[in-house]
Symmetry: C2
Amino acid sequence: MRVLANIVLVSLMGFFAAACQETGQETEQGETLANTPRASGFDTALESAENKINTQLLLPLTVPTPKDAGGGYTHEKHKENAKLIYDAGQLFKLTGEQKFADFAGKLMTAYADVYPYWDLHPAKKEQSPGRMFWQNLNESWWLLHVAQGYGAVKNALSSEQRTKIETDLLRNMAEFLSDGSPETFDKIHNHGTWATAAVGLTGYAIGDEDYVQQALLGLDKSGDAGFLKQMEKLFSPDGYYNEGPYYQRYALMPFVVFAQAVEQNDPERKIFERRDRILQKAIYTTIQQSYGGLFFPINDAIKDKGIATTELLYGVAIAYDLTGDKGLLSIAEAQDKFVLTPESRKVADDLAAGKAEPFDYKTMRLRDGENGTEGALDIIRASSNPNDLTLVVKNTSQGLGHGHFDKLGFLLYDAGHEIIRDYGAARFLNVEAKYGGHYLAENNSFAKQTIAHNALIVDQTSHFGGDTQTGNKYAPKIGVFANNDDLKITTAEIDTAYPDVTIVRTMALVRDAAFPQPIVIDLMEARSKASHQYDLPFYYNGQLTETNFELRGYATSREPLGNDNGYQYLWEVGKGKAVAGLSQVTWLLDRKFYTVTSSVPESTEIIFAEIGANDPNFNLRREPVFILRATSDEDVSFASVIEPHGEYNPIVEFTVDSHPGVKSVQHLKFGADHYIRVQTKDEQTVGLAVAGEMSKTAEHSIEIGGTDVTWTGPYKLFHSQKHTEGGE
Amino acid sequence: MRVLANIVLVSLMGFFAAACQETGQETEQGETLANTPRASGFDTALESAENKINTQLLLPLTVPTPKDAGGGYTHEKHKENAKLIYDAGQLFKLTGEQKFADFAGKLMTAYADVYPYWDLHPAKKEQSPGRMFWQNLNESWWLLHVAQGYGAVKNALSSEQRTKIETDLLRNMAEFLSDGSPETFDKIHNHGTWATAAVGLTGYAIGDEDYVQQALLGLDKSGDAGFLKQMEKLFSPDGYYNEGPYYQRYALMPFVVFAQAVEQNDPERKIFERRDRILQKAIYTTIQQSYGGLFFPINDAIKDKGIATTELLYGVAIAYDLTGDKGLLSIAEAQDKFVLTPESRKVADDLAAGKAEPFDYKTMRLRDGENGTEGALDIIRASSNPNDLTLVVKNTSQGLGHGHFDKLGFLLYDAGHEIIRDYGAARFLNVEAKYGGHYLAENNSFAKQTIAHNALIVDQTSHFGGDTQTGNKYAPKIGVFANNDDLKITTAEIDTAYPDVTIVRTMALVRDAAFPQPIVIDLMEARSKASHQYDLPFYYNGQLTETNFELRGYATSREPLGNDNGYQYLWEVGKGKAVAGLSQVTWLLDRKFYTVTSSVPESTEIIFAEIGANDPNFNLRREPVFILRATSDEDVSFASVIEPHGEYNPIVEFTVDSHPGVKSVQHLKFGADHYIRVQTKDEQTVGLAVAGEMSKTAEHSIEIGGTDVTWTGPYKLFHSQKHTEGGE
């Protein structure tokens, strides 16, 4: 391997020298390469791209007539061709070898021969159909790549070729995407960003300022639409994208790629400084919204998508170019892939030079909405270690068409795993046998419904009646968010999810010596004057080990838990009853135990269920859940402690602390003030006081077991004796 | 981090110099350390052990009265104490610091104070109870460690201490384990090996040759029992242990540790050369019986046990000492842990010096039985890459009390995952809430039963009527085993699993240019003159994507598939019917698709099921299976191709070849000869001829579609045209 690497290095050095002679580029890169202590990932990317194009040079060009939907042959072939044109362009820029320009030119010409004659795609989607692809979103994606490829090679093409490609392919497509598709182009939506970026990049590539102006300011160039408006509207001031991280990384790509072209061509626009460096923030928040390398799968998210996604290769490289933040290098290291841009090369070189530092994963509140007034995504991490205990509370707005009905829902991670999880989207991306790779019907009927989430369900109906338009109108009211060493806390409430119920959830990550690891406190309240049934699900991940109540799984038959609103997809598999207002459920995942101990209304039932009923096509994953169910004609609350504990070690064969440390949880109310008292089996007590108001100066005084407890401000953690005595 | 490592290195160097002065050891180790280019894992192990003992020095000794079963407090505490005594002994040997000897001496004395008064354990197991532990197996484990600890420190103890420890602890325990437990000590069984090794090591430690003789030759020193006999009987000539790898690694520990003591004390016994170096073979085969670092989970195996297990830390270090095989260093690297022995230090140092080479994972037949005549475990690997396609065919004997009823069953791995899997044991080791950490009732009633495996079930009853004693009497007859580049093949048959049915299974791993990846061909035949129902399960791992037959999962109710023999634990979740004698089932796992295409008897039903019925305590994992079910009053066969194909890439967002390449599979019979014809969708044909006899010289001639097909020997692969034309 080492020998091979040296050969590559030598050949690349020669190759750069040649490239520099031919194109007049400075030799800096080549020298950097020679001095690099270990092979840079960029070299691998370069070599791989070269090999791919060299192989293509021996094959006939294939430009199939559009036929297949996403995932099908023609769809994939056109995507592949766009990448080839893009890569050939970058290779030409890097090497100056004419063969790459020729190849890109020929392939674009082949498209120019046929594109003008393609009508709407035969498998077109109803909304925003494309011509080459089933939807024009893919067409924008295609043009974004090809425009860049063209810009890179155009000076090496004949003027006939240039005219043909510009007229019959680039302009034809750009006009189809702009004037021809105003409902997409002028929309404040990621599809709109793809379209404006593609058209804008085309403008720069062919030197048509009109395209650039339309891209930046909208079809009528008024600034009411277009890329700049999208920058204003699509990210919150904290850089949160309102559909969530799965779509954020996708939306990010046209933003950063086109912004960079703007920066290079129109530096006076200072595009990266706009709106308090919003694009840079957006790149960072995309990374922050991940765990174990994968994005938080809120809303319609395919769960195996994460920071290694192609879009973030561009994003991280551009952010590194802008900031020099060495923490980004460790993200690049985890990505372990590079694109053929100068910024990506710089990342690869610095990484190879050993400059990487750990990325600073943070506890943070990401406000949602263009003005930051529409809820927030709250991320609470026990530490900056990306695999440490992490709580995500979804206090965001609906998130448009890809949003789920899971107000104040949460996800919990620990030790690199999902502990209490979200289903994400019901979709097999590009898998033809699974409904053609589209979102499955179960995405709407199950995955979006409230019961598919760790959120409160009233009367077995979803939030906002399961209506997206209604959901889009209302966001939670966010309360306190604090990030201290021993206590990280968030509160939010919503009174619009159901007509006559206000839901308030306070979640906190607490460190106390009474517990060897941090615990999560979850206070879920529902305030209503009417009689309702309340379901609070915990989609636990792992194998149930014990409960504090009698539980017998149904042995010989199973039935769906309900008939609609997603309940029909759950098999009811067992049921128990809380013991003296306490429910305790323990499970084992990998090497650790987790217990949810909940103070619940009297006569609360605990329903165990598994996803998979009414699933004739085997579309859904089988995942377990337990649901705290209470019926009440007054306010109710579920106060839970989520406690990671113990170790199951099958290698060295020992198991410790398989039983929870928590003995009891109590929720005490004093007017608008709350006190959660957690008692452990070894008689330690941890208390969390939560005030009914957010004032930082208001004083609160309550009496707990004959003792006065006072504090100032919206919350206060009362440590255990063990902790106070420094017993940690 | 680098600074810290240097400090450790410096402190260790000083510490070795001191150690060498005090004990007169040669300085070689210390020098090696200084020259080591990177920190050795041994140093970490040493430092960690030192810290642990230093902490203990500040605490009172705790020797609790025996009370708890496995996993409970007293059980774990005694285990911990044995490890402390062992480690203190090794640290004293390495450092010469008296404090370590004192600590071990005090702790052993504390045991000597109480051990003589301990009667049988209150939670004793029925068979072979212990006094300190619930079973004397744990007591042997304890003495094996403590005897070594004592041997290391005894010269530093006072003669009073020595007398007390030898009399009241070591001899008392050794006699309890030998004369006091003859049914274990003289048994040819791993419990016997633990007992003989413990007593033998005690003999060496206290200088009592009588103990050594009993250990080696049995209580009566006749050689009919004891360690040497166990070496003869417990491993097959190929180094296979008849309970399978999960127990092999456990059984291995006393073998290698005691053998090493024999080698050091009685080198003239040449113990490691005995029986064609059987112990060395056994260490290697333990490693070979793993995939992705985890042991093949055949029989009663806990699935997360693998090569990093403590027993193999000793095993690999001793094997490396014996062989110098640098492939073992990469196993040690994967283990990433070291024990405090000189051999382990050597491994760590050589690893740190960069001497590791890839371990040579092999295709191999491991014959079972003391003479190698009782079946075999057949391991077929596509390459030496430990994560490549790997087929394991269980043609072994029953495997005693921990054996499962899965004659001719198989497991398939690919891309680092289980593809077609075995349930392993139903047990949560040491998890009190799960039946006290014992094997669960479901281990016998489900996990051992044939239906829990990828093996043929006749009339919904398990092999040998589910009777272990019957099973122990019969082994499969093994046929051909061959390992060629393009074809790796195994055949075995058994006519004793059912009264009037002979089962024959041929499995092959085939490379042909018609397939981008190797495929598996599986010919399962049942020969009988009576009418029977045949069930052939495939415990597929992943998400079902398509079938060639109509399949509707049961939407609103589920029932168990049967009433007994393990069937009661399966929910029937859907059913289909083979189309024109062909069944095709495709699923997706991680990034790849897998299809089983089977030529089946007409009117075969395909039953889809999931584990989890009759499981009131949530003891079982929910895993899916499809079962080919046919009823016949003559011979039947199921000829399947298992085909890994395509790629699902959610990162770069493409999916290719999600549909299988196989169009049809046919099983053609010509008297005793068979021909499996596999046709692909692009009209390629691959054929596998299997003769009815094993003769290497016999000529066979059959006619396929009007063409004569001839071959010599027991099998022949007929490549596709594409392959023959070099189209790979």
